[in-house]
C-alpha cells in the first residue's frame, strides 16, 4: 500500500517535471529558424523573446496582428523586455482525482547597453489541489539570473543561473529522464558558458557548479560540457552532438548524445535527442542509462501546433520506462493559449494523465 502511494507520488512528480515548457519552440526549424537566438534573448532558447521573436509570436495566433511596439524603429534598443505568465492546469491521472495547479512566472531581460543584458526569472507555484487532498505548499523560486555579454553578432558569454544547454533547446524533453539519469542535482546550476553561432554552426561550451538547490550537499556537482550543431540542409535540418562530464561527492557522471531538428516543410518535422550516460556512485555501483526523446510535430496552421512525443529511459540491467505524449496547442490570441495533452507512462506501474492548460501572458 505504502509502495503504491510512493509509486504514484513518484509518477506525479515525474509528470510535473516533464510538463512541457510552452515557451520553447524548436519546431520553428520548419520555417527556417535554425537558431533560437533569432527570437529569444538567450541563444539557447526559452525565456524572454526579443522584439522580433514577439512579432513572430504575435503573427502565429488566430488573431494575428502587429505587436504593440511594431512602429518603434527597427534598430532601437529594447531596454526592458519582460513577460508575465499565468498558467492554470488541470491534470486528471487515470483512476485518480483531478489536480489543479496555478503557476505565475515573471521573466525579464534588462539591457544595460547594446552588448550587456541582465536576465532574471522567478515563479510562484501553487500547491497541486485535488478534491480529496492538498499536496505540498506554495513555493517561490528564482529560476534564472544571469548576465549576458554579446561582444559581436553570433557570440555571447553568459554567467549566472540558467538551464544547461541542450541539443533540442526543449527543457521538457529531457526532464522526463533527468530524474533517473541525473537525480538530485539542480536543473539550473551556476554556470559560465560561451555561445558561438553562424549560418552553418552552433556551438556552446560551459562549465558549472552548485547553486544550492541540490537535495543534499553530496549532490553538489561540478562539471563541464559542450554542444555543437551543424546546419546540414537549407536551414531546415540541424544535427549535432552533446557531451558533459560532472563530478560530485555522490557520483561521477559522463554523458554523450546526438540530436536532430528537422523541418520537412512548413507543417511537418521531427525533433530527436538521444544520449548515453555512465554514472559511478560513491557506493561503487556503476549505472549506464540510455535515454531519448523523439517527437513528430505537425502544424497545420501556425495557431494550431500538434506533436506526438515518445520518450524512453533504459537503465542497462535495470528498469525501463517509456512515455507517449500526444499534445495540441491552440494559440487563441497573443495572450491566451490552450494546451491539451495526454501523457501515458509505461513502467512497473502504467499510468495515464490527461491535462488541460490555459496560459495567460502579458508583456
Amino acid at each position: 500500500m505504502h509502495c503504491k502511494f510512493s509509486c504514484r507520488l513518484f509518477i506525479v512528480v515525474l509528470l510535473v517535471l516533464a510538463a512541457r515548457h510552452a515557451d520553447a519552440y524548436p519546431n520553428m526549424i520548419r520555417l527556417g529558424y535554425t537558431s533560437c537566438a533569432t527570437c529569444h534573448v538567450s541563444p539557447q532558447g526559452g525565456g524572454v523573446l526579443t522584439r522580433y521573436g514577439r512579432g513572430i509570436d504575435y503573427a502565429q495566433t488566430i488573431r494575428a496582428g502587429e505587436p504593440p511596439d511594431a512602429e518603434v524603429p527597427s534598430d532601437a534598443l529594447s531596454r526592458f523586455l519582460y513577460d508575465v505568465r499565468l498558467q492554470m492546469s488541470v491534470d486528471h491521472p487515470q483512476g485518480g482525482a483531478e489536480e489543479y495547479s496555478f503557476n505565475t512566472n515573471f521573466r525579464t531581460a534588462v539591457a544595460v547597453n547594446a552588448q550587456n543584458r541582465v536576465v532574471y526569472a522567478f515563479g510562484v507555484r501553487s500547491p497541486a489541489l485535488s478534491l480529496n487532498r492538498r499536496m505540498g505548499a506554495a513555493s517561490l523560486g528564482m529560476s534564472r539570473l544571469y548576465w549576458m555579454y554579446e561582444p559581436k553578432e553570433g557570440l555571447a558569454v553568459v554567467v549566472g543561473r540558467d538551464d544547461l544547454p541542450s541539443g533540442l533547446g526543449l527543457p521538457g524533453a529531457n526532464s522526463f529522464y533527468r530524474s533517473v539519469n541525473n537525480p538530485n542535482v539542480s536543473s539550473t546550476p551556476t554556470q559560465a558558458k560561451v555561445f558561438w553561432w553562424n549560418k552553418r554552426w552552433q556551438v556552446a561550451t560551459y562549465a558549472y557548479g552548485p547553486d544550492g538547490n541540490e537535495t543534499q550537499p553530496q549532490f553538489e556537482a561540478r562539471g563541464a560540457g559542450a554542444m555543437g550543431g551543424m546546419n546540414v540542409w537549407r536551414d531546415h535540418a540541424v544535427v549535432g552532438l552533446t557531451t558533459r562530464v560532472s563530478k560530485a561527492d555522490a557520483f561521477d557522471r559522463r554523458n554523450a548524445g546526438v540530436f536532430a531538428r528537422v523541418g520537412f516543410n512548413e507543417h511537418l518535422g521531427v525533433l530527436a535527442e538521444h544520449d548515453v550516460t555512465g554514472r559511478e556512485l560513491s557506493t561503487g555501483q556503476r549505472l549506464t542509462h540510455v535515454a531519448g526523446h523523439a517527437e513528430v510535430f505537425f502544424v497545420p496552421f501556425n495557431w494550431l501546433q500538434t506533436a506526438l512525443a515518445a520518450e524512453h529511459m533504459n537503465t542497462v540491467g535495470g528498469a525501463t520506462t517509456y512515455r507517449l505524449s500526444p499534445s495540441a496547442e491552440v494559440r487563441l490570441t497573443p495572450n491566451f493559449r490552450l494546451q491539451f495533452s495526454t501523457r501515458s507512462v509505461y513502467a512497473d506501474t502504467d499510468s495515464r494523465t490527461y491535462s488541460i492548460q490555459l496560459q495567460v501572458k502579458a508583456e
Partner: protein
C-alpha cells in the same frame, strides 16, 4: 475512269483531313523559324531570404506562367517570357506575407509591381547543367541576372531547375526589416518547372 478519279480525290481529302491536326500542332510548336514554343505546365518559384541574424525563410508560389521558344541556335535569347504572380507569394506566416507583398514588393502599385518577369533568357545548351542569363523585371526595375540551370528532357517537354541571386537593393525594394531583424541584401531565386510544347498560341496561366 471517273470513278477512279473520285476515289483518288476522296483518298487525298481523307489523308489531308487526317494530317491536318498534326500540321496544326507542328505549326503551333514552330511558329518562328526553328523555334519550339514551350509552355509552363507546372512550376514553383521559391525565394530564399537569409535573415541578418541567422536562419532564413522561403517565399514560395506556384503561380508561374508563360512560354518560351526554344531556339536551336543558343547564341540567341529564347523568345517569350516567364511571369510570376507576386501576390501569391507565401512565407509560412500570414503577417509576413502581408508585409512582403504590400510593404516591400508593393504589389498594389500595378502590374509592373505585382508580377516579376524573366525575359531574353539565354542558355548555353538545352540539356544538362548550363549557365544562363536573363533580364528580370521586378518592382518596376529591369536588371540582368545570371545563374545556373539544369535542363532535362522529359516526355515531349523539359524539366528545368534554375537558380540565380538577386540583390534586393538593385531593384529599389525597401530594405526588408522587421523589429530589428532584416533580410540580407542578396536573396536566391529558385525556379522549378515543367514545360511542354504549347498546344495553342495562347499564353495561359498555370497555377
Amino acid at each position: 475512269m471517273a470513278t477512279n478519279t473520285r476515289v483518288s480525290t476522296y483518298r487525298i481529302l481523307l489523308v489531308a483531313l487526317f494530317l491536318f491536326p498534326l500540321t496544326l500542332r507542328a505549326q503551333d510548336a514552330t511558329p518562328d523559324a526553328g523555334q519550339t514554343k514551350l509552355r509552363v505546365m507546372s512550376g514553383q518559384v521559391s525565394v530564399l531570404c537569409p535573415l541578418t541574424i541567422g536562419g532564413s525563410f522561403e517565399a514560395r508560389t506556384k503561380a508561374l506562367s508563360g512560354q518560351v521558344g526554344m531556339a536551336p541556335d543558343n547564341s540567341k535569347p529564347l523568345d517569350g517570357d516567364l511571369a510570376v504572380d507576386l501576390q501569391t507569394l507565401e512565407t509560412g506566416i500570414g503577417l509576413r506575407d502581408d508585409h512582403l507583398r504590400r510593404k516591400y514588393l508593393e504589389v498594389e502599385r500595378g502590374p509592373e509591381y505585382s508580377q516579376a518577369r524573366l525575359r531574353n533568357i539565354r542558355v548555353d545548351k538545352l540539356a544538362g547543367k548550363t549557365p544562363f542569363h536573363a533580364v528580370l523585371m521586378l518592382h518596376g526595375q529591369t536588371k540582368e541576372v545570371t545563374g545556373t540551370a539544369d535542363i532535362k528532357p522529359e516526355g515531349d517537354g523539359y524539366k528545368l531547375i534554375a537558380s540565380f541571386p538577386v540583390r534586393v537593393s538593385e531593384f529599389g525594394i525597401p530594405e526588408p526589416t522587421y523589429l530589428g531583424v532584416g533580410v540580407k541584401d542578396e536573396v536566391v531565386v529558385r525556379v522549378n518547372m515543367n514545360a511542354a510544347p504549347a498546344p495553342a498560341a495562347t499564353s495561359g496561366r498555370t497555377k
